[in-house]
Amino acid sequence: MKDPVLILGGRSDIGLAIAHAFAAEGHPIMLAARNAQGLELQGKDLSLRHRVEVSLHEFDALALETHAAFVTGLEPRPGVVVCAVGLLGDQQEDERDMEAATRVIRSNFEGPASVLGHVANLFAAEGEGVIVGISSVAGDRGRGSNYIYGAAKAGFTAYLAGLRNRLAGEGVHVLTVKPGFVATAMTEGLDLPAPLTAQPEELGAAVVRAVTRRRNVIYTRPVWRLIMAIIRAIPEPLFKKLSL
């Protein structure tokens, strides 16, 4: 039987698209989110389409104290853990409301880092496993228009890089996924440029492919690797004057 795949943030469009892509390959799926029983529709759909086992797991990314028990109590034991937890927030509002800003930082960095820390220890002890972290191109350089979200994702990207380095010799693989624009509920209503915007299904397929090929860092769509290379290359004295 194929390894069960645990999706943290199992309600998100990206998490579900990755779940479908793994399920299509015959992997049992474990969806974890708050109010997990509310995911029955999505779970049933997954199991009917792909004829795989689907289980629902109660999980709160911000309830750090529950993470240790959550990870050790997982049944079945997942072979792949995908963290698609995230919160975009509203940059302008979050600039004024530090509590809201902290929530964005905790949702995109602290919570994911905490739960993946426990997963990493479990996988290291077992000597196998794959961790997939959904970070963002926003973490590649802080920009005035979304630096709170971006800073948290930058932290998460660095965390994943560190985990990968630590676990490379222990049989555990870590994949960092940096989506650019993705057409999801999170971005609905934004006027995104079509050539730069991936469909969630496209991202799901790219993640499965990257896991199979043991890739380290992927951008979706790949053109984002180039775009972000250019954005990173702009000298700071100039960059600070741009509106990006």
Binding site: L41, K44, D45, L48, R49, H50, R51, A185
Partner: protein
């Protein structure tokens, strides 16, 4: 910031004032409170059935399969689920839709609203005949489950109702048990219309005859080759018809190569000479494959799905599809008149499609007992003039028109051809549905 939308024919293009993609009943109700709307599925109707200058509701967010009973073949799903999704999920268990149009990329909701038909209308009726129930958000904003027995009026009106009776949210659909994913095809070249119709009639007269029948048609033939066609008869292959090596995995068919049309073809690419050459080649290639063969389901039912964006081949201006049905008695004379008019105008499509339809039992769906002819024309002034002429001929022969294909019919012509749709528009006014549900097409055709 809305962008223009179009149907599959890419004509007309209309920018809706509001476009939203609800994922819950609450969101649908909120949209209805904002003003009149039309639900849209995957945008595969050809004309303006799912367009509006006002509000368009993209129902593809309703995308979950809800349940399946292998005992009865009943699948329950949300309206935005594609027919192709159902095939992918349930063909491996031995089930296939009873009725499918020429693309699997239509949504369940769209298939119900257009009450689509396939190559087996004579045997199995239209899509709506295989529905156990439909859940609709009504003009009052209430979610109603409709079946043949309860809320049967709304059930019948919604099948083929073009989304003008309510928003289809979910449905229960019976699937057909099949033994394999293959179709046993019998390809019969026909030299002219009479020969093609004789093959159809022979098949129709035999109660144990083929489930599927369709003719691909050269509508640019002249004189002797007028109506030259390839008639394809087909049945779901039984297990013992497969080669022994395929019997262990009867639902596995070879992965098809996907092609794409990345750009609009220049306007000159399609003219009477290239089309005539193409149609001639197609006929001769088909005639060489005459006789029985096994074809995988995807190639048999959905040859054009393998070419993504094939609608671009008609260029930037888009194309208009013409589809009418003529009653059996005068079908031969009517078809000959239609084909003569098309050939004379030198306008034509790659291929025209001719099918034999069975008797109709629905409130206002397209099919009736007789022959249906479908063809595409690039949108040009000449073609539009020809289409008006074809409307006239259809009307004169007692025929009617398929709304899922239409983008340019005149209200007067439609109501003259199909009084059932006049009844629908009266019902809409009496029930107040017209103030809730409206499309560019319903306004143009006064539905």
């Amino acid at each position: 910031m809305s962008r223009p939308l179009s149907g599959w024919g890419r004509y007309p293009r209309i920018t809706p004032e509001t476009l939203s993609r609800p994922r819950s009943e609450v969101a649908v109700a909120e949209a209805m409170a904002r003003g009149p709307l039309i639900a849209r599925g995957n945008g595969r109707s050809y004309g303006d059935s799912a367009l509006s200058e006002g509000q368009v509701l993209d129902m593809t967010g309703f995308r979950h399969i809800l349940g399946f009973d292998p005992e009865t073949g009943l699948v329950e799903a949300e309206a935005g689920v594609l027919l192709g999704d159902l095939i992918a999920a349930f063909l491996p268990l031995g089930f296939f839709p009873f009725v499918t149009p020429g693309t699997k990329l239509v949504t369940l909701g769209g298939a119900i609203a257009s009450d689509v038909h396939g190559k087996n209308h004579l045997r199995d009726g239209s899509f709506g005949h295989h529905l156990a129930w439909i859940e609709i958000m009504t003009a009052e904003g209430e979610v109603l489950r409709c079946t043949k027995a309860s809320n049967s009026g709304l059930f019948q009106q919604t099948i083929g109702g073009m989304g003008l009776t309510g928003v289809i949210l979910r449905a229960g659909l019976y699937l057909r048990p099949v033994e394999t994913g293959w179709i046993a095809q019998d390809m019969r070249p026909a030299r002219d219309l009479a020969e093609a119709m004789a093959i159809f009639e022979e098949a129709a007269a035999d109660a144990d005859g083929p489930t599927y029948s369709v003719a691909w048609f050269d509508c640019l033939g002249q004189g002797e080759t007028l109506g030259r066609s390839l008639v394809m008869l087909g049945d779901h292959a039984r297990l013992e018809q497969l080669e022994p090596r395929r019997r262990a995995r009867p639902f596995v068919t070879p992965e098809k190569r996907r092609l794409n049309v990345p750009l609009d073809a220049p306007g000159l690419a399609l003219n009477r000479y290239t089309l005539r050459a193409f149609n001639g080649l197609y006929y001769r290639a088909g005639a060489r494959k005459a006789g029985p063969s096994l074809v995988d389901w995807d190639s048999y039912f959905y040859p054009l799905d393998a070419i993504a964006n094939w609608n671009r081949i008609y260029g930037r201006r888009g194309f208009a599809q013409f589809q009418c049905v003529l009653p059996l008695a005068g079908a031969r004379a009517g078809l000959e008149t239609l084909l003569a008019a098309i050939s004379e105008a030198g306008q034509g499509s790659f291929l025209a499609v001719l099918k034999r339809l069975g008797p109709d039992t629905t409130a206002h769906s397209f099919p009736m007992e007789g022959y249906t002819l479908a063809l595409d024309f690039p949108v040009t002034p000449t073609a539009l003039a020809l289409l008006d002429r074809l409307d006239r001929i259809t009307l004169d022969h007692g025929g009617r028109f398929y709304l899922a294909k239409d983008s340019r019919l005149k209200a007067q012509t439609l109501h003259a051809a199909d009084p059932r749709l006049t009844t629908l528009s009266e019902t809409r006014r009496a029930e107040g549905w017209d103030s809730r549900f409206a499309s560019a097409q319903s306004r143009r055709l006064q539905l």
